[in-house]
């Protein structure tokens, strides 16, 4: 009898002849947290899908031992019953059902076929209390709670199913800093009680904090498993990319020119709650060839601010914009693109890609008229441009006509960037340009940003990763609770400075 809770041995899985996993192994002890790292497309999600029987026994090779015995599950129901719970990057909640209803979805407490709400609410309360969460009302619909709270509800749901192993796939990508703190502390507490977990994240600081061992996979192969004590985050990065990443930010000199865009007194009100102001009287200027970073906590109003400039904000808003000194009115993204303002939106899946359309056609959608005479597209001219872009941006795709949804996150993002670069914008707004993108693709995206700045494009970048904002911006705006809380030249600026400003602790700085 081994002391492992889970042993995955020599797991291989192919998709139509292409090996996605090649003899991977992963071991988890009771009460241990294993960090699973790898670039996007390395095979982490595939491995977890093998484990949770999304790919049933028989569709892959190798062996899974669960509590010492071989696990041959053919459905998620069976793995859940065994005690494996998976919490996906995108939360699987039914927004209009109550917290308790969500927790008990599929395992409702009933009395002769009628739901026993009192029992479910009480038990939900109990589960949440165990997680040290006291400000969630189990009878209210889930949509009343933020992403962070919903994450906790998911964990409560897993606990209800007596999970022994919790798989967390990028759990913090949509959480605020405080929510992340709560989550990490909670996981530590659960670990102490004997719960094992697999923690998948691109945020290596979190992995380092919470894991006991780290397993790195790359291109479907096992690169190494080491105790966290023997590793540094830089070491993990090296293992992930297979080469040393000396400089994460390929800074290049670029000239900064005249003011190209000035935003004056921008205010926005919440879409669903029109009483609430989400952006409060923000004004700023951006110059030709300048990279202006916008930092702040999630929910500070940064996305609302930039989408208002792009004419895409759905709620009430006011303010004015001046392009090279002349006032412009932008009522729609169409007006913005015409004026030379382009935006790569935050949520790639929801508002960036046209999923079932080819990669190439995704890239040219904004500039189709360039290839057209009398409305008829010259496909060949278009294809020639697409192939040029694919080479230039190093987009990995077997065929430019392949649906974009079949590409990895990094390649999708590069295609979306290409779409918004083709109209030759004077101002390019990037909202979280590297979210869900692997290290290698990140580096290439930074290089593109610098190339754009060199060419005289003003780049306005919203990012929640402070190291990224500080790594590439010339100037940093800090937004906190909808207000402009700081405007710093990025010279000896530290994360502490920015964070303090975002939290409103110091209003005058630098």
């Amino acid at each position: 009898m081994s002391d492992f809770l889970l042993e995955m041995k020599n797991i291989s899985k192919s998709f139509s002849g292409v090996k996605a996993l090649d003899r991977i192994h992963l071991e988890v002890r009771r009460g241990e947290c294993v960090g699973l790292c790898g670039e996007n497309g390395a095979g982490k999600s595939t491995l977890m899908k093998v484990l949770s029987a999304v790919y049933p026994y028989g569709s892959w090779e190798g062996e899974i031992l669960w509590e010492g015995r071989e696990l041959k599950a053919s459905s998620i129901r069976e793995t859940e019953k065994a005690g494996i719970a998976i919490i996906h990057q995108e939360l699987m909640m039914v927004p209009h059902l109550s917290v308790a209803e969500n927790i008990f979805l599929g395992s409702e407490i009933s009395n002769h076929g009628f739901l026993d709400y009192d029992a479910m609410n009480a038990r939900a309360q109990e589960l949440l209390a165990k997680l040290n969460v006291h400000d969630i009302n189990p009878a209210l619909p889930v949509l009343n709670y933020s992403g962070g709270k919903q994450q906790l509800i998911e964990i409560a749901k897993a606990l209800n199913k007596n999970a022994k192993l919790l798989i967390l796939d990028e759990p913090t990508s949509a959480l605020t800093a405080t929510e992340i703190r709560t989550l990490l502390d909670l996981i530590k507490g659960l670990k102490a009680e004997g719960l094992a977990c697999v923690y998948i994240s691109h945020k290596l600081e979190e992995v380092a904090e919470i894991s006991d061992t780290v397993t790195v996979i790359r291109d479907g192969t096992h690169i190494g498993t080491r105790p966290i004590g023997e590793l540094t985050t830089a070491g993990i990065v090296t293992m992930m990319v297979g080469r040393e990443m000396k400089n994460l930010y390929p800074k290049e000199d670029h000239d900064i020119g005249e003011v190209v865009l000035e935003a004056r007194n921008i205010s926005c009100w919440d879409v669903t709650n029109p009483e609430r102001k989400v952006v409060d009287d923000v004004s700023f200027k951006i110059r030709k060839g300048e990279i202006l970073g916008i930092a702040g906590l999630v929910g500070a109003g940064r996305t609302e601010l930039v989408s208002t400039l792009f004419g895409a904000y759905h709620g009430t808003h006011k303010g004015s914009a001046y392009l090279e000194g002349k006032e412009i009115t932008i009522r729609s993204p169409r007006d913005a693109v015409k004026a030379g303002i382009c935006m790569v939106p935050e949520d790639r899946k929801r508002s960036g890609i046209l999923p079932i359309i080819g990669v190439g056609h995704n890239m040219t959608i904004s500039v189709l008229n360039r290839f057209a005479a009398f409305g008829l597209i010259d496909e060949h001219e278009e294809l020639a441009q697409i192939q040029g872009e694919i080479l230039r941006l190093k987009i990995k795709t077997a065929d430019p006509m392949l649906p974009i949804a079949s590409l990895s996150g990094g390649n999708q993002q590069k295609a979306v960037l290409s779409k918004m670069m083709l109209p030759d914008p004077r101002i390019l707004i990037l909202d979280e340009p590297t979210r869900g993108v692997d290290v290698g693709a990140k580096y290439e995206i930074y290089k593109l940003i610098f190339a754009l700045a060199k060419a005289g494009v003003a780049v306005l970048m919203v990012s929640s990763e402070l190291t990224e904002v500080l790594g590439i911006s010339d100037r940093v705006l800090v937004i906190g609770e909808g207000r402009l809380r700081g405007d710093f030249v990025n010279d000896n600026l530290t994360q502490e400075h920015v964070l303090a400003a975002a939290l409103g602790q110091t209003t005058q700085m630098a």
Binding site: F310, K338, I356, E379
Partner: protein, 387 residues
């Protein structure tokens, strides 16, 4: 392995799979209507082929535009009633007021465009779901035609209008059209080849290209010869072929067509790419209106009268044709040729079963079952579940 390859081939060439289904249906009816005394099968005659195509023309015209509506993520339930209304207006203008044909046609087409655009405006700009808008339209348009005609049949319409629905092209003109079409295809093939080489893109081998062109040539030739051996190409079929050509070009070759598919794939992302999504949707409904007008004119011409019940249920036939032809309910996917083959399948079933003397109620039951099976086959052949 062979099984997987076949499946892959069929899912990538849906149209081939659909044509195989058509052949199977024809073979079945050919067998069932075989007359041992005369040695011919009633279904597989030039005369019946001609009838069959004329029957499908009206549904086909509607289905061609319906594909765009569904691809854009919307639905139009009003086209059957709109067809009735516009057909009724055509009959009144022609039979009661004696308008010249050109005047009647232009007026009806414009009215169709206007009513279609109105549906589109309500959907795209006012944000009322198209299901509701066009359900309302279905009632309102049917009511209007009842009011306009007073519930009676308007007849007789002029011979020139009748020609649109009942006429045939003379043989020499049919041959001329076929030759012109083939020359056009040849020219396009050479042009594509030259352009692709210019941009150093891959081109098929000359042998493959030649085989394809010869195949298409034989198909066109066979089509025209069969129809000419009866009375010639029926005018509504010619109209349908024109519609097919134009709509296919719109879908595959134009900026507007690309926008329709983009809107259906992800409307928000399309809007953020600087495309006027509302305008695209409105124009799609406008096109649908124009096609309803064309179908209305053809119906009135074919019946030689305007009847208040014309086009009843037409929207469902058109929608069913789209789905049989592989259009996705979720939008973003669908082809005009697929929808027309879908219409051909529906028309073949109608025609064959009527010929066999199957009761109307059985015909409806069988068509309903076939619709569900066809979509299911499409789901398993593409290997993904559509919601």
């Amino acid at each position: 392995m062979a099984n997987i390859n076949l499946r892959k081939f069929l899912s990538e060439n849906k149209i081939v799979a659909l044509l195989i289904v058509v052949c199977l249906i024809w073979a079945l009816f050919g067998y069932l209507t075989f007359n041992t005394d005369t040695g011919v099968s009633g279904f597989l005659t030039a005369r019946n082929f001609s009838n069959l195509l004329r029957q499908m023309a009206i549904t086909g015209i509607l289905a061609a535009a319906m594909v765009f509506v569904i691809v854009a993520g919307e639905i139009d339930l009003s086209v059957g009633s709109l067809l009735g209304l516009l057909g009724g207006i055509a009959a009144i203008l022609d039979a009661v007021y004696g308008w010249p044909l050109a005047g009647t046609i232009s007026f009806v087409l414009l009215a169709g465009a206007a009513l279609g655009l109105m549906n589109g405006w309500l959907t795209a700009y006012l944000g009322i779901p198209s299901f509701i808008v066009t359900l309302g339209g279905q009632l309102a348009f049917r009511g209007s035609v009842l009011g306009l005609t007073g519930g009676i049949t308007i007849a007789p319409v002029s011979p020139s209008l009748r020609y649109i629905g009942q006429g045939y092209l003379p043989g020499w003109l049919g041959n001329g059209c076929a030759i012109a079409l083939f020359v056009l295809l040849l020219f396009m093939a050479f042009r594509t080849r030259r352009k692709r080489l210019q941009h150093s893109l891959r081109v098929p081998t000359p042998v493959m290209e030649a085989t394809r062109l010869v195949g298409i040539g034989i198909l066109i030739l066979g089509f025209v010869l069969v129809l000419n051996s009866y009375q010639g190409i029926p005018v509504p079929v010619l109209v349908l072929l024109f519609v097919l050509g134009i709509f296919t070009i719109i879908a595959k070759g134009t900026v507007f067509g690309r926008y329709i598919y983009a809107v259906g794939s992800n409307a928000e992302a399309t809007r953020l790419s600087g495309v006027n999504v509302n305008l695209v949707k409105m124009v799609v409904f406008g096109l649908m209106g124009v096609m309803a007008a064309l179908a209305g004119l053809t119906t009135t011409a074919r019946l030689a009268a305007g009847t208040p019940s014309a086009g009843f249920g037409g929207e469902l036939d058109a929608i069913a044709s789209c789905f049989i032809g592989g259009t996705s309910m979720r939008g973003g996917v669908g082809s005009v040729i697929g929808a027309l083959v879908g219409a051909l399948i529906m028309a073949s079933l109608d025609n064959g079963m009527s010929m066999l003397g199957v009761d109307t109620f059985w015909q409806q039951i069988i068509k309903g079952i076939i619709l569900v099976i066809a979509v299911y086959l499409d789901i398993i052949s593409s290997g993904v579940k559509r919601l």
